[in-house]
Symmetry: C2
Subunit: 327 residues, 2 copies
């Protein structure tokens, strides 16, 4: 099942069901008018939503699906917790920031808490205050969970995954370097995160979802040029482990989103899903950084694809960076 | 004006108005049934709430105010951002964690993003998984803001303060030490934060609210014994500066809460508002740590008071730590 949210001006938007062909959609039946509402009562909502999805796939009703009319699947969420589960990315970022090695990095997940009140839709402009902040994209995947009790095991946590999403964890590198050194973690370095339009139930991913990991490549284009297509299968912790890490000393409300961190492969030919990583690879390969960060007007496009190049089910993130207006 | 929220089993609770004497309360008039709803339309809500507060103070209607029936004023909030604005506390914590000095600590606020989906009320038990995690309280103050645009100045940010609150930022020190070293900030080290029952508009604080700082002492008792009464007036950044720091690269939704960090005074006779700080003071004074952290069954009581000992308007936080049930 594929779900999306139309931006209707409200804080939670209007839940829609997207057909399996990705071309048509239908409003979710009442009372499931928002995704957060459905997640809070998933046992009741899921059968109703699946029945509506089956009717849509059978050709009943619906309208043309317009990704540009979409908000993030959850325009706001109870929590947004983003890991750094691709160790190759983490090691390159340590070099980029010049910070000491993260302790226990290969055995204990690292994760920061992000703002979850103001997510961006897949085609929304990204307003930022300054090009000098080191504007960077971070192509990632994530999961939306049902309520998770404090102390859940990785297996219990994985069973709470309701939807899988694709996202862009916008980052300001010049601010992140300072914030990592404070030990308090990212805050100014992490403006609003953006999401691909379609959230997908795990079973609808078929073999692309295995043991809490995605077997998809994230195709990244910066201003229309190929930037990389790293595979998500190299994730060093699975989503069950990440969710359990988040829930060790707290319960997670239904609708909490847990992210993978930037998709990254040790094999250099796969390219990267963020600029900071490419810059470090340039430095290692050529002794100098050759790429700058993003400028106002730049675009980034992120689209998950199967190994054979067929597009994945999430739709694309395609955003432009713009100068924020004065308050 | 003083506002509180009854725990009625819903996610946002039921907004009530508390009389100036703190003894009686009344349900807020429709449609202002929740504090978050009122904050999202404050220009319309505030006059209606003030009229109801005036009627209550004039003796019309109402019921006995019961702090034990209260949730946090906002049981959940769009964002929860906690600073470390008492430099005396920060310096002691650097010693406690054995971490390098925070860069630019006296000129740039440090702040972490906390979970905001599951706050505790003033008398709710605090379920935690293990005494070995170094269970500690952190007595603080905070502000609840209206919508703040990205890039707001400290003066603009301070003008967006709608309510002032008193809180306990529960901390697990054994986990925090690791998380500070990762650079990703606190996550497992910060279980649900608790709030005193009454949120107070700035003007109702009179001279206790000056230039974005509180002039109150936070009286702290651990298991009924005096622990300290540090003054909040020593805050090294004012709340306008803290809010502006948070809003530098993002907008803040109405209802966002910004915290001061642990109240702490350079004058040792004031005692402390967290155990970790007392432990470091013991080590500096005696060459050894004498205090342990909290045990299951322990209680902490936090109550803001004026310099002359009169209680402040927030009511008390009085909580017991308990072992979390298996999931």
């Amino acid at each position: 099942m594929r779900l999306a949210t139309l931006n209707d001006g409200s804080l939670d938007g209007r839940l829609i069901i997207v057909a399996s062909d990705g071309a048509r959609a239908a409003h979710a039946p009442a009372p499931w008018t928002t995704l957060i509402g459905a997640l809070q009562q998933w046992a009741t909502a899921e059968p109703a939503l699946r029945a509506a999805a089956a009717a849509l796939d059978a050709g009943e009703g619906g309208f043309a699906f317009d990704p540009a009319a979409c908000a993030a699947p959850l325009p706001r969420a109870p929590q947004w917790l983003d890991a750094s589960a691709f160790l190759n990315h983490g090691r390159l970022m340590e070099s980029a920031f010049g910070t000491p090695p993260i302790p226990d990095f290969d055995t204990v997940p690292v994760m920061y808490q992000g703002a979850s009140d103001d997510f961006l839709g897949p085609h929304q402009d990204v307003p930022l205050p300054s090009e000098a902040h080191g504007i960077d994209f971070e192509g990632e995947f994530g999961v939306i969970v049902d309520a998770v009790p404090m102390g859940a095991t990785p297996a219990q946590a994985l069973a709470a995954v309701r939807l899988v999403v694709q996202l862009n964890d916008w980052s300001l590198r010049a601010l992140g370097q300072h914030e990592v050194r404070t030990g308090f973690g990212f805050l100014q370095a992490k403006p609003s995160t953006a999401f691909a339009p379609i959230a997908v139930t795990p079973e609808a991913l078929g073999p692309a979802w295995q043991a809490g990991r995605l077997n998809l490549r994230l195709h990244v284009q910066w201003n229309g040029e190929r930037f990389g297509e790293p595979s998500a299968s190299e994730m060093n912790f699975d989503f069950g482990q990440l969710i359990a890490h988040a829930a060790r000393t707290r319960r997670l409300s239904a609708g909490t989103i847990v992210g993978s961190g930037t998709v990254s492969n040790a094999e250099r030919g796969a390219g990267s899903a963020c600029i900071a990583e490419r810059r470090m690879i340039e430095k290692l390969a050529h002794g100098e950084i050759r790429s700058g960060f993003m400028r106002f007007g730049d675009r980034v496009r992120l689209q998950a694809c199967h190994a054979d190049g067929r597009p994945g089910p999430f739709g694309a993130i395609d955003q432009r960076v713009v100068a924020a207006g004065a308050p």
